[in-house]
């Protein structure tokens, strides 16, 4: 029996419902526009499934509480926007360093500072990658529809559990407040992943030893391991070390721990990329507009295509290179002063190949403008 249900859902509500479906049972948050609907929906839904919602005293505390709940073995999430995301950075780095699974939603508004609180933007692309200090691994997923918010929220939890890492779900205000018709899947069909729990001998347990796949099993408090967790650089035994050889070994494992799992992590959408002369790259609402522009360009006989990274970080660079190889122009469309462009320029060594269409006025970039730019570049390419 198929139990899917059709609903008109707002993006932020879809995120909350998906989190519950993924097994999230703890939410710690702080009110901030344009993400507050996620907290509100979680405060309603979590108690119905035996979970706990708490509105903490500030953004920093909410990140701490989420990590604390996950240390206890409960899947946990928070949601915020620019100013709050900035405040969460130190604890986000702690979760990356100690490898505590958790999901952080950043519904992007205009910045910097208080910026444009009710307006969409995509200005946190680089902050999600490098917001906390020090080298660290991170996964960032960027849905561009309500249906995709639902799917990627579940995937965010699964990746965070399987790879023991914080995962950031990043989308702009437009996607967060968009209402679309969504077929919610039958809860019984949803794949849920759980972290590996330590089950071996208690004596001599090494909580950060590499079991071969780069992802150590986690010790659940109460299971008898009595291990130590610290944000200090720690050796395999979990206690601090300054021994250069130990630091080198554990940091190599930490920074390279996604390498064996890129097939799980990488994801993107490619539209008409096979013979595209002008390849558009965009995320979120900009990618929705770009998709329409590409279809219109095709209808007008132009060889346009779209590469939309769903996994933004680590950037799916091998796939991007393949899809971009035949294009004469790669047009990056983004609602900021040029951030994704930096990554695309890094990946396209050919000078002049990358063009930018950027805006930071708080207004989305429409299909017509993207189409016009495609036309211009297509002519330029033929000349």
């Amino acid at each position: 029996m198929h139990m899917s249900t059709r609903q008109n859902l707002q993006g932020n509500h879809a995120c909350a419902l998906a989190a519950i479906a993924a097994g999230c049972r703890f939410y710690g948050g702080y009110p901030i526009t344009p993400s507050s609907e996620i907290a509100e929906r979680m405060s309603l839904e979590l108690p119905r499934v035996g979970g706990v919602f708490i509105q903490m005293e500030d953004e920093i505390a909410s990140m701490g509480a989420v990590i604390g709940a996950s240390m206890g073995g409960v899947k946990a999430m928070t949601a915020t926007s620019g100013p709050g995301f900035s405040l969460k950075q130190e604890n986000l780095g702690y979760a990356a360093m100690t490898e505590i699974p958790c999901v952080i939603v950043n519904v992007m508004r205009g910045g910097p500072s208080t910026g444009l609180p009710t307006r969409p933007a995509q200005g946190d692309i680089m902050q999600t990658r490098w917001g906390t200090h020090g080298d660290h691994p991170i996964i960032v997923l960027t849905p561009s529809s309500v249906r995709e918010i639902y799917a990627q929220t579940i995937r965010a939890f699964n990746l965070s559990e399987v790879l023991r890492t914080p995962v950031i779900l990043l989308y702009d205000e437009t996607i967060g407040h968009l209402v679309e018709t969504v077929d919610l899947p039958d809860p019984a069909t949803i794949e849920r992943a759980d972290r590996k729990w330590a089950t071996g001998p208690r004596e001599g347990f090494r909580p950060y030893a590499d079991p071969g796949d780069g992802i150590p099993a986690m010790a659940r408090p109460g299971d008898g391991y009595r291990s130590h967790t610290t944000g200090l650089t720690h050796a395999e035994h979990g206690f601090p070390t300054q021994n250069p050889a130990d630091v080198d070994r554990v940091m190599h494992r930490l920074l390279g721990k996604f390498d064996q799992h890129r097939d799980l992590i990488d994801s993107f959408e490619a539209l008409h990329t096979d013979d595209a002369e002008v390849l558009v790259v965009a995320i979120g609402i900009a990618a929705r507009a770009a998709g329409r522009a590409v279809r219109q360009a095709r209808a007008a006989g132009m060889r346009a295509g779209l590469f939309r990274p769903v996994t933004l970080w680590p950037f799916p660079e091998d796939s991007f290179r393949e899809h971009a190889a035949r294009a004469s122009t790669v047009l990056v469309v983004e609602m900021n002063a040029g951030q994704l462009s930096l990554e695309i320029e890094r990946l396209c060594a050919q000078p002049g190949k990358v063009a930018r269409l950027t805006r930071f006025t708080g207004e989305p970039i429409g299909p017509a403008e993207i189409l016009a730019t495609i036309q211009e570049r297509a002519r330029h390419g033929h000349a």
């Binding site: 049972r25 703890f26 710690g28 108690p47 119905r48 706990v52 708490i54 903490m56 005293e57 500030d58 920093i60 505390a61 909410s62 990140m63 701490g64 509480a65 989420v66 990590i67 604390g68 709940a69 996950s70 240390m71 206890g72 073995g73 409960v74 946990a76 130190e90 604890n91 702690y94 010790a219 408090p221 109460g222 299971d223 008898g224 391991y225 009595r226 291990s227 130590h228 967790t229 610290t230 944000g231 200090l232 206690f239 601090p240």
Partner: protein
């Protein structure tokens, strides 16, 4: 002596002995506070597997690692935030926070007042040594007036925080102050905090001989502790005073206790009242 359970308490059973000797300076009171905590844990019969110790950053933050339990060394000022998530997610654990005067009252002050207000079941042990010891002796919110520190070279002009008065005002379920000089009394105080169903805040008057003491010419650790003692006024455990109370003496003992609902239970009750069975 069996009322003090000295016959059964062996601190080594609660320590990660392979990490010893500990890294604290000679004369530091933190080790004595650690002994008081573990003695109280022993008396309460809390299994080590069920004990979760959450620490912040600083000298106090390093104390937890020596405990043979589930130990978490979190970020500066935030152990109460981490512990709030842990205690809500796992009410079966006995959650203890070890923090310091800088960690708890300066960078973490917001979390303290809200932890007190919320009254979630956990025990917060604040080790007050009047200084940021680990970073080299900078002024803290509890540094005494006129004291010399590496950032108050002309003497400290800031008033000091009374952490217990703050905790009481913010609504903590159980509030007490003890000192490392009086180990059994501090142990009993922590034990009462562990037993209290709600947020317990216990300030342990510790000392920093090597940095704060040296900078202020306070002499040896015993001299510092005896001077602390003369400035205390007992409210509950009246076994220490051998000289008249001083006008500006700090109160020690159980300083506050109330029966406000424990937050976890209150949250579950509120939900149960609205969700039909």
């Amino acid at each position: 002596m069996d009322t003090l359970s000295l016959d059964t308490f062996d601190i080594r059973a609660y320590l990660r002995e392979d990490l010893l000797p500990h890294f604290m300076c000679p004369g530091c009171g933190h080790g004595i506070a650690l002994r008081a905590l573990l003695w109280a844990v022993h008396e309460r019969g809390i299994p080590k597997d069920r004990l979760a110790v959450v620490c912040g950053i600083g000298c106090s933050g390093r104390v937890g690692a020596y405990i043979d339990a589930n130990t978490y060394h979190t970020t500066h000022g935030r152990p109460l935030a981490f512990a709030t998530g842990l205690a809500l997610a796992r009410p079966d654990l006995e959650v203890v926070v070890i923090t310091g005067d800088g960690d708890c009252l300066a960078i973490g002050g917001n979390h303290l007042i809200h932890a007190c207000r919320r009254n979630l079941n956990m025990t917060c042990l604040m080790l007050n040594n009047e200084i940021y010891g680990m970073t080299g002796g900078q002024v803290s919110p509890t540094t005494g007036g006129g004291r010399l520190t590496s950032t108050t070279p002309y003497g400290n002009a800031e008033p000091t925080f009374d952490a217990c008065a703050l905790a009481i005002a913010a609504g903590a379920g159980f509030v007490g102050r003890g000192m490392t000089l009086q180990l059994p009394a501090l142990k009993t105080l922590i034990g009462e905090g562990l037993a209290h169903p709600g947020f317990s805040f216990i300030e342990a008057i510790s000392d920093c001989t090597e940095i704060f003491g040296r900078k202020n010419d306070l002499g040896s650790a015993p001299e510092i502790i005896l001077r602390q003692k003369s400035g205390m006024r007992p409210d509950t455990y009246g076994n220490i005073v051998d000289r008249p109370f001083q006008a500006k003496a700090m109160r020690i003992g159980v300083l506050g206790r109330n029966d406000r609902p424990e937050y976890g239970a209150a949250y579950r009750a509120a939900v149960a009242a609205r969700i039909a069975p």
